[in-house]
């Protein structure tokens, strides 16, 4: 049997994933991925959630309340959040601050989550907005409640973020770094200048903010991604909670994200702390992600809710593909480079692979999706 060059590459990359090892135990709970409601995804649509590109607070608050109630089966908003969080929790909210202003985490969504946590009894000081990058987080700082704690693992972005203390060339304050006790070792995935004999090159360490919270919420945005295909809950958690992640797509024609994303997210300290995924699809980005161009943003007016990160990603992935089809583009899975996306291989199959690794439901027949239209 003859294999194509691409098939050979894929098999080698899969073998590299299979050889990955991890360090750092963290026990599972009833909330651990896929969480309290495996396969359940709620979409809530409200036509007034964005007007002329501006987020509308009241409709979005209503959407979030309804989404959480539908997801949990609770009769009211406070009880819905109490199903997942309690007064003893320290909760990290992994936001997405990367991109043009219409496709980053919105103030309305962040406020909706923090208010829900407060109703569940979580103390204000025990809510932490998290991201890997202080510079990017600063980009949405004006949207964050002034009282809320923030944690960034590194100061800025670089190709090779292997510093345990977090990439921080000018020793700026407010960088929390990574934890040497928790890592995944993937010697098969390296940037061209990285060495397989250097542990800091073969390992991806977990951000300290992950180790310092008891539960994590992923707040992602409905976006195309030129290497991951889509950047939703899984991608938000993978690239946002570990260092040395660029090696997963080391060149425009080389991509390991299909295996790397689920390998990282399956680390016990991540999969066992993530209890809720909210995908903000008020605006969606169907091409040129993750940073985006306004020409590729559409008003989707929908938010997705699930404890099952994989199932929620699968539903949102289909929404992006549907929009690409309307625009005359191929699906993410079959798309390559175009004038706006330089990478030739996109791998939304990281969602499928995550399902195969037991992180959640990925087959359509196993997903119970319900769309609630409010207006």
């Amino acid at each position: 049997m003859k294999y194509t060059r691409r098939q050979v590459f894929q098999r080698l990359a899969a073998a590299a994933a299979a050889s990955a090892t991890s360090r750092g135990a963290y026990p599972a709970t009833i909330y651990s991925m896929p969480g309290l409601y495996p396969g359940r995804v709620i979409g809530v649509k409200h036509a007034d959630s964005s007007i002329a590109g501006a987020y509308q607070t009241l409709p979005i608050q209503t959407m979030m309340q309804r989404g959480m109630m539908e997801l949990t089966g609770a009769p009211n908003h406070g009880m819905a959040w109490s199903k997942l969080f309690s007064r003893n929790d320290v909760v990290g909210i992994k936001v997405n601050p990367n991109g043009i202003s219409s496709i980053v985490s919105s103030k309305a969504a962040i406020d909706g989550i923090t208010q829900g946590l407060l109703l569940a009894g979580v103390a204000p000081g025990n809510i932490v907005i998290c991201d890997r990058n202080r510079v990017q987080l600063n980009g949405i700082a004006s949207l964050l409640p002034k009282w809320v704690r923030q944690a960034a693992a590194s100061w800025d972005w670089s190709d090779d973020q292997t510093e345990i203390a977090g990439y921080n060339p000018n020793h700026e304050p407010g960088v929390s770094g990574y934890n040497p006790r928790y890592y995944v070792d993937c010697p098969g995935y390296l940037l061209p200048w990285q060495s397989p004999s250097n542990p800091s090159h073969t390992r991806s360490y977990v951000a300290n903010f992950v180790t310092q919270v008891t539960k994590i919420i992923s707040l992602s945005v409905l976006k195309d991604h030129q290497t991951a295909g889509v950047t939703l809950g899984l991608k938000n958690l993978c690239q946002g909670c570990m260092n040395n992640v660029n090696r997963a797509h080391p060149a425009t024609n080389t991509n390991y994200l299909q295996w790397y994303v689920p390998t990282v997210v399956s680390q016990p300290i991540i999969r066992n702390k993530v209890v809720l995924s909210i995908i903000d699809g008020i605006h969606g980005l169907w091409n040129a992600g993750p940073h985006g161009l306004q020409d590729f943003v559409w008003d989707h007016h929908t938010m997705y809710f699930g404890t099952d990160v994989v199932a929620a990603d699968r539903i949102a992935w289909k929404a992006i593909d549907a929009q690409r089809l309307l625009a005359g583009l191929p699906s993410e899975e079959s798309s390559g480079a175009d004038p706006y996306d330089a990478w030739t291989i996109r791998q939304p199959q990281h969602i499928t692979q995550a399902g195969l690794m037991g992180l959640g439901k990925f087959r359509d027949e196993d997903i119970g999706y319900r769309l609630v239209t409010l207006a």
Binding site: Y26, P27, M79, R87, A123, W147, V148
Partner: protein
């Protein structure tokens, strides 16, 4: 939906709730029913403490959600002053003398415990070498408990501040940090947190040190939220309210004479009369509850001569 936060020495209860639960407002539960508490000008506010005079403390968020402020509702409703440099503060407890404790925060930076008395808020400080602290409760002797970092350990340690003396209650082996949440006559209750998200309620006394209380189910988790002078501790263990009494952790639901339709999820406070406030669900709705012991089951706390 309502949830309870505190109970006074004479059985008044405070908490938060609202009819549709999209917002939260503090309340006082007295013999005349549930009363709203002011000052509240925001849709999101929480009652956290109450004393025998019916004074309620808590915190409320600004309408734009950008700041939160501690409030005290006694003879006159007021916001408590911020510590120097502080932008937010929250009150967490009040005793029968009107002494209020809580914490003040500077933006998104660290917190500092405060004590408010006689119209003045002052910084409580930290354990030796620490930079951040939070006060969670004060009893009628002025004993204050909470958590603080230390000079040698960035992790938080439960503390007791009594008569101007700081006591580091420590962190038991196998745990990462601790927080004290309740105090009564030098009985201190709180929670130990392990590195893996596991929690265990504790009771601390000067004589016995820190005792882990276990959980309702083997290998389960527990958190302590209240304690009385007899050393009875209440809290939550794996979704059920517990009472720790006579060296045993008991599922509180098993001690309730008429609990039809109720699931008691957490007990948050217990007074010296043995009354317990908490939160549970009744016919699917979350409600605060107040339990009073029958004569048969009433525990008799040890009384100190100077008990007020």
């Amino acid at each position: 939906m309502t949830s309870a936060s505190a109970i006074s020495t004479n059985g008044l209860a405070a908490g938060s709730g609202d009819a549709n639960s999209t917002i939260s407002q503090p309340f006082l539960r007295s013999g005349s029913g549930i009363l709203p508490v002011s000052p509240v000008s925001s849709p999101l506010a929480f009652g956290t403490g109450v004393n025998s005079a019916g004074s309620v403390v808590g915190y409320e968020f600004s309408v734009d959600f950008s700041t939160f402020r501690a409030f005290l509702n006694d003879a006159s409703a007021k916001y408590l002053p911020l510590l120097a440099g502080g932008t937010n503060n929250a009150a967490t407890g009040i005793n029968d003398l009107g002494t209020v404790v809580g914490y003040s925060a500077t933006g998104s930076a660290s917190e500092m415990a405060f004590v408010y008395s006689g119209g003045v808020a002052r910084q409580l400080g930290t354990l030796p070498g620490g930079t951040t602290s939070r006060a969670n409760a004060v009893d009628n002797y002025g004993n204050i408990v909470g958590c603080s970092d230390t000079g040698s350990d960035a992790a938080l340690h439960a503390f007791l501040h009594s008569g101007g003396i700081w006591t580091d209650l420590g962190v038991r082996s196998g745990y990462q940090w601790s927080e004290a949440t309740a105090v009564s006559s030098n009985q201190v209750a709180g929670t130990l947190n392990d590195p893996f998200g596991g929690t265990t309620a504790f009771l601390w006394t000067a004589a016995s040190g820190m005792t882990a209380l276990g959980a309702l189910v083997p290998g389960g988790n527990s958190q302590a939220f209240g304690v009385n002078a007899a050393g009875d501790v209440v809290g939550s263990s794996d979704g059920a309210a517990f009472l720790f009494h006579d060296a045993q952790m008991i599922d509180l639901a098993t001690r309730v004479l008429s609990s039809r339709g109720w699931q008691l999820s957490e007990a948050v406070a217990i007074n010296n009369l043995g009354q317990i406030a908490g939160t549970g669900t009744h016919n699917g709705q979350a409600h605060a509850f107040l339990l009073s012991p029958t004569a048969l089951h009433r525990s008799r706390p040890r009384q100190r001569k100077s008990e007020r």
